[in-house]
Amino acid sequence: MNRFYVMVGVLAVVLGIGVFALLKTGGGSAPAAALGAPPTVVDDSFRGYTLGQGSAPVEIVEYLDFECPVCATFATIQMPTIKDQLINTGKVRWRFRDYPLPIHKYSRFAAHAAQCAGAQGRYVEMQDQLFSHHQWAQTGKDPSGLFRDFAKAAGVDPTAYDACMEAGRFAGRIEYSRQEGDQLVVDGTPTFYANGKKLFTNLRRLPNSDDFKTLVDSIIAHSPPKPRARPEHH
């Protein structure tokens, strides 16, 4: 009997080391922009691309990592419904902030690709490409060429994209966003804030569109009514 418990203990240790090693190791070679020390922080007063109207009563900020599978699932499965029910109806303005996790080899690189596409007004389209063809996050191979194809599919001018990527134009902006996330105690991805308040903190629960609808309706119901604004003329 004692031999059995020794066997259980040894097996647990071996499997534990195996899981740790699997989580620790990456794969393949990384492009220059994906490796090396984090870039210098640059505050260019950019605070993330947004979806929705500026006058929406609720602002949701999402800190995301492009290599994170849960972020990809959320973007491809839940986000279309959230757009229909909350963003397009004027209830919510959605703000995307980068939080590339250091354990992910290409997430900073992917965030940079999205920012370069964003410089040409194609952030959302590029994000769709990166999340809906998420197999790149599994292969461990250098995704530079693939991202360039994504950029072209998103309607981005490849020459300007190449120049932006080679210059690492937005690396400092991405690092600023990541450090901002650290200050807000982002502890994983995706992490959400509604009007500045951190959401879904229990056991890293993964929210769906219904959770957001309930939350947003509750915030709106408990908000004091605004004085009737005079119609604006442009």
Partner: protein
């Protein structure tokens, strides 16, 4: 006893497989190690990868942990002869097998991608179920000594050779 030991060891293996997939789903670690087939990411990012707000692998962690704890409790000397543990293990294993069958169906016929880690977990859970069912179906007599059998002989042990009294 051997069957409960086998179940405990298999549950330990399944626990770590599920733990790896769960931690990966939560954003720990790099690209999932999946071989050349590339099905793991497809499965992990599909809409069925999240069940009732938690990654599917989380239920695997909870399930395997439950089987492991019950199997270890059933291996206590006082519990070895008790048949109720076989019933609990068979129940847990059947629930696990049904959930595994549902997930495998999704992989094969809905997502059309196979995740090797999920297949590994499915094999482990199927083995646990087969062993648990065999233990459950075992006649009571085999699990514990019959009530009218003679009391086990208490072996006094090998008597020590008499020594000569010290001179």
């Amino acid at each position: 006893m051997r069957q409960r030991q086998a179940i405990a060891l298999l549950a330990l293996v399944g626990l770590f497989v599920a733990l790896y997939l769960w931690l990966h789903a939560l954003g720990f670690g790099g690209a999932i190690k999946c071989g050349a087939s590339g099905g793991c990411e497809t499965v992990q990012t599909s809409q069925w990868a999240v069940f009732l707000g938690f990654p599917v692998a989380f239920y695997g962690v909870v399930g395997y942990l439950a089987v492991l704890i019950v199997a270890l409790l059933a291996l206590r000397p006082a519990a070895l002869a008790e048949r109720k543990w076989n019933v609990v293990l068979a129940g847990l294993a059947t629930a696990g097998l049904l959930f595994t069958a549902y997930l495998t169906y999704l992989e094969l016929f809905v997502i059309h991608a196979i995740c090797r880690w999920c297949v590994g977990s499915a094999i482990v859970m199927t083995l646990i179920w087969i062993i648990a069912l065999a233990a459950f179906r075992r006649p009571r007599a085999a699990a514990s000594p019959p009530p009218n059998s003679p009391a086990p002989r208490t072996d006094p042990g090998v008597s020590q050779p008499l020594r000569d009294p010290p001179a």
